[in-house]
Amino acid sequence: MISKDSKVMLEVKNLRAKVGGVEILKGVDLTVNAGEVHAIMGINGSGKSTFSKVLAGHPDYHVTGGTASFAGKDLFALEPEERARAGLFLAFQYPVEIPGVSNSALLRLAYNTLQTERGLEELDPLEFEDLVHEKIKVVEMDPSFLGRSVNEGFSGGEKKRNEILQMAVLEPKLAILDETDSGLDIDALRIVANGVNSLLTPDNAVVMVTHYQRLLNYIVPDYVHVMDGGRIVRTGGKELAQELEARGYDWLRAAA
């Protein structure tokens, strides 16, 4: 919920970034406060996925201008793993497969790395087993997935649920969901959305990057931003998404 005294989680100013020598982001401004849900919409190539990868620090993307502060820190001064440890989480559009590495081993290593960062005790495998069996209910996954290699042989929907499981275990301050709804059937979409909703608190925030209004029926945003040509060209409430769905992006372009 939006409240006047929310603390600022992420503040991006005039962000410009290149990939492969081509400028994709051409001055993005965005402020996200704790307790808020934002949606970033736009057509293919508008720069919305680039935006999420730049925030997470993907090595192929180079910041050429602007600033970003996250939880009071200069985001671009941090390595990708430091950003993650500071509480920034990216749910990937195309989750990678890691053959031979079990889901639970990965989750435990990531969890314990965070615990160490926060000055807390690491969990041993048995303690962690208890924790993860609680968390896995959030995404209605069978515990047998924990013993399987990360994403190997998972369906598209299972991979996306696995991303949300990681989010549930790591409890990030800011979760960026990069087209988490793409490739999901309606049941999987509901499960993923329920999972995300159950993780929302007044102290964290979510940024959803999506093509479609569909996801926003399940995870209701406080703000909807429309990206076009590497900039946020329109910001509104959840009704903006409905209008986009009804009238298409061309309407916005014609209006601009």
Binding site: I98, G100, A110
Partner: protein, 478 residues
């Protein structure tokens, strides 16, 4: 590759120290006189000298093999010292008599030489340069009739066994390096497990090459009689020299009816520096003969060292229902070259073999799997399953697979699976995004990749292998 994927392989070699012990060597070079001298120094019987000379004469007619996917300057076999041993040479009755300097060396290597460490359950035969220094725990093994001693001692104490089995699996003229070894081998390990005895502990040999310019030609012979079983561990290191050292060992295993031999190696010979200077040439012939029915021989190797590796631990499945297994992890970095794999020769009925090979290439290295599965016309119902996976780290290394399948009867079933993967930027970014640093990520990916092999290693070797791979790759991704 990103900086993350660029630093993982630059760990300095930890075992590159030289032990300052007086050694006694014969002059470099090879001729019949040198062979006679070696044989004389070792006080060998006439038949063994004949075995050596015959091998030498055969060797002279042979050419160095050039079919492997490795490149190196021609070796001048007259520049090699064929025999070096720590001075003074005398019979050592207990560990206390071992040169303290030598003992410190083994302590640095982490070899459990002392009795209290051996309580952990490993009997160790230590080969230093060419001479077996001591065989621990011998007495306890002798109680159940197991002979575990240096090869020289076996020649003295059990000549009939050595004579019966030496060269029975790898004939002296088998190949260029086996012939060379047969002519000049200096020591090694001998192990005999009598009928029906399950060896109560893992037997272990630790090889180390110390003298610059010396070759190491050890000879290992393991015989498991009917219904017996043994688990044998071999570890290897060498100090760091700018010159290349030749290591041409021969290992022969014989398993009789219902016998079971498991042979594990963690090879960490010096691999040369990052520009490819120095390092061991590891040209080794390892072969097991499943002679009896229901016998089983299993090779597990973790190859991380050596400038050049040329090694194909193989199984000849002669007995009906016998089983051969080969589990291998070969890691190359910098300018290392490895051409390694196995041969499974099915001769008996219902023989089975399994090959799991994992090659990891980093830096500018070259890593080849070369394998042969051969099924003879009488091997009714033979089965083989092979899986060869390669992993590339960075974009300047090379991985190749050369599988050969030769089937001479219609009842055989052969399966071959292969895959090539690359530790990609996207995987590394995924780990980073979950807060996991690059070295931990690599270690996790590599261990996951090698899991199918590591589960076949004895516990302490598995731990060592995991650490070793991590160290070897440190800095190659970054």
């Amino acid at each position: 590759m990103s900086t993350v994927l660029n630093n993982l392989v630059n760990q300095p070699y930890k075992h590159g120290f030289v032990t300052d012990i007086e050694t006694e060597s014969v002059p470099k070079g090879l001729n019949e006189d040198v062979i006679r001298l070696i044989s004389k120094k070792k006080d060998e019987p006439e038949w063994l000298l004949e075995f050596r000379l015959q091998a030498y004469r055969h060797w002279l007619t042979m050419n160095e093999p050039d079919w492997a996917n490795v490149n190196y300057p021609r070796i001048d076999f007259q520049e090699i010292i064929y025999f070096a041993q720590p001075k003074p040479k005398k019979q050592l009755a207990s560990m206390d008599e071992v040169d303290p300097e030598l003992r410190r060396t083994f302590e640095k290597l982490g070899v459990p030489l002392h009795e209290q460490k051996i309580m952990a359950g490993v009997a160790v035969d230590v080969i230093f340069d060419s001479v077996s220094v001591t065989t621990t725990y011998k007495a306890k093994l002798a109680e159940v009739g197991i002979i575990f001693c240096s090869f020289s001692e076996a020649v003295r104490e059990h000549p009939e066994l050595v004579k019966q089995y030496l060269g029975s699996v790898v004939p002296s003229g088998d190949n260029f390096y086996a012939a060379l070894n047969s002519a000049v081998f200096t020591d090694g390990s001998f192990c005999f497990i009598p009928k029906g005895v399950k060896c109560p502990m893992d037997l272990s040999t630790y090889f180390r090459i110390n003298t610059e310019g010396s070759g190491q030609f050890e000879r290992t012979l393991i015989v498991a009689e009917k219904g017996s079983s043994v688990c044998y561990l071999e570890g290897c290191t060498a100090p760091q020299f700018d010159t290349n050292q030749l290591h041409a060992a021969v290992v022969e295993l014989v398993a009789l009816d219902n016998a079971d031999i498991k042979y594990s190696t963690v090879q960490n010979w010096y691999a040369g520096d990052e520009n490819g200077k120095g390092g061991i040439y590891n040209f080794v012939t390892k072969r097991g003969l499943c002679k009896g029915v229901n016998s089983k021989i299993s090779w597990t190797q973790v190859e991380t060292g050596s400038a050049i590796t040329w090694k194909y631990p193989s199984c000849v499945l002669l007995g009906d229902n016998s089983t051969g297994e080969f589990y291998s992890v070969a890691l190359t970095n910098h300018l290392q070259q490895a051409d390694t794999g196995t041969k499974m020769i099915h001769l008996g009925k219902n023989t089975r073999s399994k090959i799991i090979s994992k090659g990891i290439s980093a830096g500018r290295s070259s890593n080849s799997y070369r394998g042969m599965v051969k099924v003879g016309s009488r091997a009714i119902g033979a089965r083989n399953y092979s899986q060869c996976d390669s992993m590339l780290i960075g974009d300047r290394c090379e991985a190749s697979t050369f599988p050969t399948i030769d089937v001479q009867n219609t009842t055989a079933m052969i399966e071959h699976e292969a895959s090539t993967s690359k530790i990609g930027e996207d995987q590394m970014f995924f780990f980073a995004q979950r807060g996991i640093g690059s070295e931990e990520a690599i270690s996790m990916i590599i261990n996951g990749f090698c899991k199918d092999v590591f589960v076949h290693l004895p516990m302490e070797f598995a731990v060592e292998a995991t650490k070793l791979l991590g160290l070897k790759l440190e800095g190659s991704v970054g």
